[in-house]
Every structure is written in C-alpha cells, then in structure tokens.
C-alpha cells in the first residue's frame, strides 16, 4: 500500500475507528508479528510486543508525518519496544546456570538436516547474536531493506550498518552448526 493510499486509513485511525484499527492489523499484523518473533525469539512475547506496538502507534499517530510507509513507522516502534523489553527481561531474569545450560544445549548438533530444522537453528543462532547484529540481519534479510533505509530506521550511519552486517554474518557463520553447510557455495542440502 502506497503512502498516498494510506492517508484515508491514517485519517480513520486518528478518529479511533475500530474498523480502521482492524484494517491496520489485517494489513500489517502478521508481517509485524513475524518480524517481532525473529527479533525477540518467541511468539508469545512477539504477540505482546505487536499489541503494544499498535497501542503505541495509535496513541502517537499525531506524530506520523507520512515520510515513511505506515509499516516502516510501525516497525520502528516495534524495534524500540523490543529493545526495551529485552533490557527489562535481562534486568529481571538472569540465571547463570540456566544460561550455561541453554548455551550448551544449543551447541548440540541437530539430528535432522531438513529445512525446518535449518530454519529453527538459524532463528536460535539469531538470538545468540548481539542486539545490533540481530537487528541488521532481520532488517536486511527479512524486511528486505536497503542500506540507506536501514540506516534511517536504526538511526545510525550507512557505514555503521555495513559494518554491523559484516560482523553479524561473520558471527552467524561461527554460531551456525557446520553440518548445515548454509554458507558454503552449495547451500543447504534439502531433504527430498
């Protein structure tokens, strides 16, 4: 949906019209939820984050100037909420033993080299990256953003985005099980 096409929806949303809220969620809800799941690592937290994103977006809709698409604006709110949520959960729950157990469990090689486990392992590896590295990978390879758009979205320079991407991919190559062979020239062997 183009920015011009979004203008009537934005006007209806400013009136807090329930049908408009439903239309907004129908258009962007699933994509936002998927992105949130990749960013935070689990669907339950992602649902809460998406709900908070829509609440925050409607509350601050008067600040939406239409310079970006509605989805990009929603995603920037989601990104901020995810960062805060992670920091809050890190403050409340931190268990060294649990972290060690989870770490050793995730280092075990996967049993089946099928597409589903590759995707699961990849998502798990994503959660072990630092927040800036995880963000650039999700924005680049899930949201398909170009470098200038990522830079605006993250509030950093294009050079910083490129640097983060470089190190994020390097870290993924270290974290991702070698058996998956994901980053080799041949790619993943798919189960027939």
């Amino acid at each position: 949906m183009g920015m011009d096409q979004e203008a009537p929806l934005v006007a209806d949303l400013k009136r807090r019209d329930l049908a408009a809220v439903e239309a907004l969620i129908a258009t962007h809800g699933t994509r936002l939820l998927r992105s949130a799941t990749l960013l935070c690592g689990n669907e339950t937290n992602a649902q809460d984050l998406v709900q908070d994103t829509f609440v925050e977006a409607l509350r601050s809709l008067h600040r939406f100037r239409g310079r970006s698409s509605l989805y990009t604006w929603l995603h920037s709110i989601l990104l901020n909420l995810t960062r805060h949520s992670r920091r809050d959960s890190q403050r409340v729950v931190y268990d060294n033993d649990l972290a060690a157990r989870e770490s050793s469990a995730s280092e075990e090689p996967p049993c089946a080299l099928d597409l589903e486990s590759a995707a699961t392992e990849l998502t798990r590896a994503l959660q072990r990256l630092s927040e800036p590295h995880r963000e650039v990978l999700v924005l680049r390879y899930f949201e398909h953003m170009k470098i200038p758009e990522m830079a605006r979205h993250l509030g950093v320079s294009a050079g910083t985005v490129k640097s983060r991407l470089h190190y994020a991919i390097r870290d993924m190559q270290k974290l991702f099980p070698a058996e998956m062979n994901l980053f080799s020239a041949g790619g993943t062997k798919e189960k027939v």
Partner: protein, 175 residues
C-alpha cells in the same frame, strides 16, 4: 575501480543505489575480476538463503481473522483504559481544591464587602447619630486565598497561597 572499493560498496551495488558512473565502473571491474564476481555471487546466495530461512522459520506465525479481531479490540480497550485512567486521575484531584477555593473566594468577597460597608457607615453616622449612640472602633483582618494549578505531563502541580489583609473601621452601636 579497485577490488577494495567494490567490496566497500558491495551492498550499494546490489541495492542499485550507486550513482550511474559508479555503477558503470563497478560493472566494468566485475567483468575483469573473478574474485569480485565470486564475492557478489556469494552475497547473493547468502541473501537468498537467509531470506528463505527466516521466512520458513516464521511462516507458521500468523494472525487469523479471529486473532486480528481480538487484537483490534484489545488495542481499542487498552487505549480507552489509558484515557479513562488519565481522566479519573485528573479531575477528582482537582474537584475538591476547586470547590474549597470557590467557597473561600465567596466567603472572602462577602466578608470584604460586609466590612467595607460597615467601615464606611461611620462616615455617614453623624447625621443619624443620636445622644447615647456610640461608635466602637473595630479591626478586621482576613485572608485572601489563592489556588493555582497547572498540568505537568500526567501530574497536576497545585499550590494554595494566603495573603492576609486588614481593615480598620467603626461599628455604630445604637442606644
């Protein structure tokens, strides 16, 4: 264009955000450089793979029609609750101070008016004075109360100040 220049601008080349001369230079370099061609191919392969895997990882995550409706209602309710919380928090806090200030103001106006009319009457008194009447000097002091408030974010900052004033006069006591 040199190899390191192409490596630096690899994402810009793939995103097609290079200027036309830069893009032409990059393509010319790629025709001649096997190493850079492989780098471009590797990045394209990586992008396809990561993109596919991310999509596969979350393809089962979706909001069906019921979930969308439920979310819309929850969002609306959350917005209404926050508005109500704001209005409930704001007005009851103001109601009592405003009522108290109004009562004090009315009492002050009435008292002031009463004292002034009483104090002005002795000047007219001689015409109506009869033998045996007397004027008793009186001193009245009163307070003018001022209530101010302003909103600071979600907080209401209020202040109650008192300005004490006095008036002298005489009270005519008839025989």
């Amino acid at each position: 264009m040199k190899c390191e220049h192409l490596q630096e601008n690899l994402y810009d080349y793939l995103d097609d955000t290079l200027s036309p001369p830069e893009k032409a230079a990059a393509e010319e370099h790629l025709l001649a450089c096997e190493f850079c061609r492989q780098t471009v191919q590797r990045e394209l392969q990586l992008a396809r793979t990561l993109s596919d895997r991310f999509s596969q990882a979350v393809e089962s995550v979706a909001l069906d029609a019921n979930a969308q409706r439920g979310l819309a209602i929850a969002v609306q309710r959350s917005l209404q609750t926050s508005q109500q919380r704001f209005s409930f928090a704001f007005w009851p806090r103001l109601a009592m101070p405003i009522a108290a200030a109004a009562v004090l103001l009315l009492a002050t106006i009435w008292l002031g008016h009463h004292v002034v009319s009483q104090s002005s009457s002795p000047s007219n008194a001689p015409s109506s004075l009869v033998v045996g009447d007397r004027v008793v000097p009186i001193h009245v002091s009163f307070s003018v109360t001022q209530y101010t408030f302003h909103k600071d974010g979600l907080l209401v900052v209020d202040a109650l100040t008192r300005d004490t004033r006095s008036a002298d006069g005489g009270l005519l006591v008839k025989k």
